[in-house]
Symmetry: C3
Subunit: 256 residues, 3 copies
């Protein structure tokens, strides 16, 4: 940090198992990726190239080099995985991971219906090739999965070999873990935490109020994802109790 302020929450350091920040890159240029790393490379633990944006962007190789040189792993959004699966192109998907030398991949079923045993089978196969993040929760706002089911799905996916399980929110933060208004489904979150260790969950939380909720519930070192590039620095200040939203919370002994 640039100067000394007393009594700041202790942050974990890279490579983090807890307290990591996943950034959503939905089409950054090479320079924009470099710029984001310049401002705080240590704040960025992993980058997701959102849904199938990697299919379209003309600068994919160059941008992957930037992230690789900064030591930041990259994975392709789950919707891309699903786009290959629904077309019976799983082997081609695996070759894409190899072609771009990717170390991580997401397995999800947010846009398609997939037998859960089959989903776990994909996790088991892919974990031999890469580190797997698996996602629970539908992109369809009308499809409400009850808490006991979230827990069951998450547990089975971790058992199948997922490194972390992701709680779905989309870029907007208005499905899955959240109501259409963006409000946290707080009962769901707390029930999940009775069974699944917090370090195993990556909570997608694109909106500031959602980030504040999780930091107040679980402390500075909660795993948060779908963070927009220009919100990386603001999020870090919220984690440290240096923005109005969590200013009092940490001073009053919160997060201990």
């Amino acid at each position: 940090m640039n100067y000394n302020i007393n009594n700041i929450p202790t942050r974990t350091t890279k490579p983090r198992e807890q307290g990591f920040t996943m950034v959503m890159d939905k089409g950054l240029s090479t320079r924009q990726a470099e710029d984001m790393i310049e401002t705080c490379g240590d704040c960025i633990d992993i980058v997701k190239l959102g849904w199938a944006t990697s299919y379209v962007t003309a600068n994919l190789d160059k941008k992957l080099d930037v992230y690789r040189n900064a030591g930041i792993p990259v994975y392709l959004g789950g919707t891309l995985f699903e786009a290959f699966i629904i077309r019976n192109q799983f082997d081609e998907y695996r070759r894409v991971l190899d072609k771009y030398n990717l170390s991580h991949a997401e397995v999800s079923d947010g846009s398609i219906t997939m037998d859960h045993e089959k989903k776990c089978e994909y996790i088991r196969i892919l974990k031999e090739q890469v580190t797997v993040l698996s996602e629970v929760g539908s992109k369809d706002a009308a499809e409400i999965i009850p808490p006991y089911k979230w827990i069951e799905l998450m547990q089975k996916e971790l058992d199948a070999g997922a490194w972390k399980v992701i709680g779905e929110a989309r870029e907007g933060g208005n499905v899955g873990l959240f109501r259409s208004t963006g409000e946290v489904r707080s009962g769901l979150v707390q029930e999940i935490l009775t069974q699944i260790p917090m370090e195993k969950v990556l909570w997608e939380a694109p909106q500031k109020e959602q980030q504040v909720y999780f930091i107040k519930l679980l402390g500075a070192n909660v795993n948060l994802g779908n963070i927009a590039p220009n919100e990386v620095i603001p999020l870090e200040t919220i984690r440290l109790g240096l923005r109005g939203d969590t200013f009092d919370f940490f001073l009053n002994g919160g997060g201990q």
Copy 2:
């Protein structure tokens, strides 16, 4: 594209008459314009320098060079045209187009009241100098133009020589084609399409839900405008059925 996915909707290619994307540049730097082109120059058919931002930006010549070198035409927002007209400076406006070597121009009356025959006269004069896009719809949310009138205005402006007619939405997507909530005036859109060929209309649709609406109604190759620079790649994935919003739609044979 970077790898093969089967059964992707066929996109038209540049120079496009259908399926083109108009990006709203409201003050990009030279590098930001270059960055946008790097990520997908083929996705950007035309750039609008929003309203009168070109009057203020200090980097106008350099930025126009960037777009010119990328083969992307640029036009100045309609509000600038109106600012000249209301001050009886039409000739000076025409000289501005020449000074900056612009190939396209917009004729609109969203902020001023203009006799429609006079508007068509401006189209007829300008089309001798540049390719003209004309815009229908008021920036005043309270001014509701009935569908039959939209059609009449659009038809007359095409007859006067407009290359495309633009359906107004502003940067916010909350007037003209849309209600103040951003909801599409669907009856209006469908009635317009009974009379005006879809390739002649450029629909301003800055919000994701609005883009999804038009793509589901008219397919991957609908003309969309007022796209923010960081939404160019996301829009392209929606056109291709590679984002959750249109994932099922194209798989189920939509857009055929």
Copy 3:
């Protein structure tokens, strides 16, 4: 300006006492700061490194050089001042200002409770070191300060030596001067103006409608702050009557 348009409101020029624009930098890269200056350095009077973002950003020295070379003063957000104060580290805060060679500083009490005489004492001390901006208004939406109290606080802070007093809004524009919906507390603003000269107030107004409100009330040369980097150019066009929102206003003699 790039070409001539008649009857444009006269803007003050740098260094401005009135009509200045304060930009909120919440974590820009060095290049992004350069880019913002390229598009209109003359439009940017002062930059705030929002709340405590300067504690986190790894590029602080380099970015400060960019602003310094462009002749744009920088100050650190008030929440950072408060973070030092609540920890009894005021002297260390003063050393930070010196270390980074800063010419301006903010004194605020938006996140902590501070005796007002004590706040004025901080202003008196700091004004010997830097130019002081002091802020009135809580970040807590539930804490409504009545207008007579705003006036009393502002007057005392100016008397203590503040160069300008800032009306609080946060990044979101939903506290202090504004209701939680973003609507201006118009009675409050107008009552303040009966007692405090407009050139002494810097109104935080991040939302477009808020900017339009102040420009229609006080003319092109009102002091506005918390402007996002990509809204600097749009704001300048609103000041000049060259965007739909104030197009009629200035033509009809408004702002005189």
